[in-house]
Subunit: 198 residues, 2 copies
């Protein structure tokens, strides 16, 4: 199909996005063309603005467009408790519970020998420096329960323990509201292991 | 969750897109943040460029960034046969067959009283003017086989016939490669009605 060059370029941009195939890319490109010129310019500017302003928080590596991220600069948060997460998505998921009052440390990945991701590619060194500066009582390892997530949690906790800090891990068990019969056996085993007295 | 304003704005832009929910919007926004500054600027510029350059072809209402669309300006195409389609997506689907050698007319919608779309909202007037100028032998109504697509095809063909042009409609029948047993009864009925001698 011979079609407009700028249109093809637009489709290519969307196609490069995760989980977006050829058909969806075309649908999104058509959406952009259906915008008024003002709306399209706004979309364009928002992307540029995000690229210009958003950077990693120097404290916790969360994404922010201010000097410190909203969590780190909030004096009401407990700066003595650090929750270590894989990525900003995980951080947001925990924030959405509205329960956690400590601060974070975003690794921006997990250790994965298969994908050639080593601790140097993550913000592990920054975490150690941060804990080494003192004032931290607890580090919660909140990486996922995948093999890589486990490996990363184990690796970091080994480095942290000599610093005299309390390292904890998220609890494993049944998801709330789930049926026992549908739980996989590993989860069920972990739920039994981690049982608590009532 | 308190998060960066520019990031929220980016998510909002993606959320406004068709078929993009909150989670996907966030994933796409993270993708944009994972781009280098140069890549993000390019994405931003591509959107602006598309908004600036792409317009409707004055001949057939296809989208183009040149004076005429690639189909209309191609002298090798049969300008005496016009295929009337609902939208540019349909045009592209037909182009992808590499079989059709005529030109197009894009309606940019179908008549739909329920959605308050009347013929005046489409490029029906432009089609009539185009056919009225002469030189057109056949108009193929290639709107979809939905109720609205049918209605639009009927409506336009009634207006075209007095102009002495041959109006045809796409064939209905079984999709190629499909099993008879899974065809819906309306399609099957149409396939029987439209049977051809071998």
């Amino acid at each position: 199909m011979e079609s407009a060059v700028s249109f093809e370029k637009l489709i290519e941009q969307f196609k490069a996005m995760p989980g977006i195939g050829a058909k969806t890319a075309m649908r999104l490109a058509f959406h952009v063309l259906s915008l008024t010129k003002e709306e399209a310019y706004e979309f364009s500017d928002v992307i540029k603005e995000a690229a210009d302003k958003i950077h990693r928080c120097p404290e916790c590596a969360n994404l922010t467009d201010e000097e410190l991220c909203p969590v780190c600069k909030n004096p009401a948060r407990k700066h003595s408790v650090i929750c270590v997460v894989e990525n900003v998505e995980s951080l947001m998921a925990i924030e959405n519970t509205n329960e956690y009052k400590g601060v974070y440390h975003v690794l921006h990945g997990v250790i994965s020998p298969l994908d050639d991701v080593s601790p140097e590619d993550l913000t592990v060194k920054e975490l150690l420096t941060r804990v080494g500066e003192g004032g931290v009582q607890e580090v919660i390892m909140a990486t996922g329960s995948s093999v890589e997530g486990e490996l990363t949690a184990m690796y970091i906790s080994k480095l942290l323990k000599p610093l005299g800090v309390n390292v904890t891990r998220l609890a494993y068990g049944l998801p709330v509201g789930s049926d026992l019969q549908y739980a996989d056996s590993v989860t069920l085993m972990r739920a039994i292991e981690g049982r608590r007295s009532l």
